[in-house]
C-alpha cells in the first residue's frame, strides 16, 4: 500500500526536523504509543496499543531513522507485530518551508510503502487505508500541538 500526503507544522524546518526525531515528543505524538526506548543510534523499540472503535491490538516493534539530511529529509522505517497482525512501513519525509515562504512554518511531505499482514490484512481491506490516514493525521495534529 502506498502512503503519501503532507502536513503543515507551525514551526520552522530546523525545529520541525528536531522534534520529528525527539523520542520524548514522538512517544507522545504517536497514537497509542506506550513506550519508546532507544536501543541504538537512531533505533528505538516501541510498544503501541491501537484502539480504534471496537478494535484493539497491542504491537511491539522497532523504529529506525536513516538517511538523515537535516533539516530537509530523512527516512523512517517502522516494523511492528502483534497478535492481530504485523506491519512494516518505509517512508521518506521531506521538510520544506511553504512556497509562500511564510516564516515559522514547515511543510512535511511524506511518501512511502506500508505492508500489512495477518488478520488485519485479510479482513481489513475496507478499513486499512482510512485508518492509516487517520493515524497519520492524529500524529501530526498532536505533534503540531507539542511543537510550540
Amino acid at each position: 500500500m502506498k502512503i503519501s500526503g503532507s502536513y503543515n507544522l507551525p514551526v520552522a524546518p530546523e525545529r520541525a526536523y528536531q522534534i520529528l526525531q525527539d523520542p520524548a515528543i514522538l512517544a507522545q505524538a504517536m497514537p497509542g504509543c506506550e513506550s519508546l526506548e532507544q536501543i541504538g543510534p537512531d533505533e528505538y523499540r516501541m510498544k503501541m496499543k491501537v484502539l480504534l472503535a471496537a478494535l484493539s491490538g497491542q504491537f511491539e516493534g522497532k523504529v529506525r531513522i536513516a538517511d538523515q539530511a537535516p533539516p530537509t529529509s530523512f527516512r523512517l522505517i517502522v516494523e511492528g507485530s502483534g497478535r492481530i497482525g504485523f506491519l512494516k512501513g518505509d517512508g521518506l519525509l521531506k521538510l520544506s518551508p511553504p512556497d509562500a515562504g511564510a516564516a515559522g512554518l514547515t511543510v512535511v511531505s511524506y511518501e512511502g510503502d506500508a505492508q500489512v499482514g495477518g488478520t488485519m490484512a485479510a479482513v481489513g481491506q475496507r478499513l486499512i487505508d482510512g485508518t492509516a490516514k487517520m493515524m497519520i493525521r492524529k500524529f501530526f495534529d498532536k505533534l503540531a500541538s507539542l511543537a510550540g
Partner: protein, 284 residues
C-alpha cells in the same frame, strides 16, 4: 473464529447499564459489528453490557414535533415503521438499504451511529436530517448534533462510559422530498458511497437543501457547497449536475480494493445527482 473470554451482563435498566459502563464495560447492541471483530480477536472487550435487554431503549415515537428513536431500534424496525415511513421516509429508505435481512434484524441504529464506520449508511441520512444524538453517562446527559458527533473513522465524541441513548430527527413538511442513493460493495453490503438528500421547495425554488455523504472519506459529512449551489434555484438538469459535482470537491477520498479514490469521487457525484433528482421528484 473464537472470541477471547468475556463477561456478559443483561441489565434491566439504563442506570444499571451506565453504572457497569462507567467501570469499563463495553456496550453490546446488535453485535453485527462488534461480534465479528471479537471472533477474529481484533477486539477483546472483557465485559459486555447488552443494551437490548433494556426495554426503554427500544422505541420509535413522535413527541414535541420531532421523532425520537431509541438506540436499540433495529434496522428492520426502522425500515418497517409506519410512523417513520410517513414522517421521515429518508430514514426508512436508508435502513432498507443496509446489508441483508439478517443484519437488519439484528443491527441497531445506536450501534451503527456509535460505531461510526466510514461506510455505514445511516450517518449520511442523519447528516442530511441534521439529527441530534442524546448521549448519557452515569452522571451526565448531553445532546450533540450529527455535524459535531462524527469526528473521524470509527471515532465520535462519545466519551468512555457514555452511550448513545436516542436519535432525534425533525419532521419535515410536505414540500420536502428526500432520497438515499447508494452504491453497494458486493461483499460486505456497505456503501462504496451513499448520498442522502433532503430538499424543500417553495414555488419550485429550492429553499433548503441538505446533503449527507458516506463512504467517501473518513466519516460521513454534509456537502455544504453542493447544498448552497442548489438553494435559491429552480434547478435545471445542469444545475443539478453542477451541484452534485461539488459533493466530492476537496475531499481526501478513501481508496481500497473495491473502489479507487477517483472512482469513489465520481460515484459520489453520480449518486448525488440521482438523489437530488429523486428527492425533488418526490415533493408532493
Amino acid at each position: 473464529m473464537i472470541a477471547q473470554k468475556f463477561e456478559y451482563t443483561a441489565p434491566k435498566s439504563l442506570d444499571e447499564a451506565l453504572h457497569l459502563l462507567a467501570s469499563g464495560a463495553k456496550p453490546l447492541a446488535g453485535g453485527m459489528s462488534l461480534i465479528p471483530m471479537m471472533k477474529l480477536r481484533l477486539a477483546a472487550p472483557e465485559h459486555l453490557v447488552d443494551l437490548r435487554t433494556i426495554k426503554d431503549l427500544n422505541y420509535i415515537r413522535e413527541a414535541g414535533g420531532q421523532l425520537h428513536i431509541g438506540a436499540t431500534a433495529s434496522h428492520y424496525e426502522i425500515e418497517s415503521s409506519a410512523l417513520l415511513r410517513q414522517k421521515c421516509p429518508l430514514l426508512t429508505e436508508t435502513a432498507a438499504a443496509i446489508g441483508d435481512v439478517q443484519v437488519r434484524n439484528m443491527g441497531t441504529i445506536g450501534g451503527s451511529v456509535a460505531h461510526a464506520d466510514p461506510a455505514a449508511d445511516y450517518p449520511a441520512a442523519l447528516q442530511a436530517l441534521e439529527a441530534k444524538f442524546v448521549l448519557n453517562g452515569a452522571k451526565s446527559e448531553r445532546t450533540v448534533s450529527a455535524a459535531d458527533f462524527f469526528v473521524d473513522a470509527f471515532t465520535t465524541t462519545l466519551e468512555p462510559g457514555e452511550i448513545l441513548r436516542e436519535v432525534i430527527v425533525p419532521i419535515d413538511d410536505a414540500r420536502t422530498g428526500t432520497s438515499y442513493q447508494k452504491m453497494v460493495q458486493p461483499a460486505s453490503g456497505f456503501a462504496i458511497v451513499g448520498v442522502a438528500v433532503r430538499v424543500r421547495q417553495n414555488a419550485r425554488k429550492v429553499s433548503f437543501a441538505r446533503i449527507g455523504v458516506t463512504g467517501l472519506s473518513n466519516h460521513a459529512y454534509r456537502a455544504t457547497a453542493a447544498e448552497k449551489a442548489l438553494e435559491g434555484k429552480t434547478p435545471s438538469a445542469n444545475d443539478i449536475q453542477n451541484a452534485a459535482a461539488l459533493v466530492a470537491q476537496g475531499v481526501d477520498a478513501n481508496s481500497d480494493l473495491h473502489a479507487s479514490a477517483d472512482y469513489r469521487k465520481h460515484l459520489a457525484a453520480v449518486h448525488a445527482a440521482r438523489a437530488i433528482k429523486s428527492a425533488i421528484s418526490r415533493i408532493t
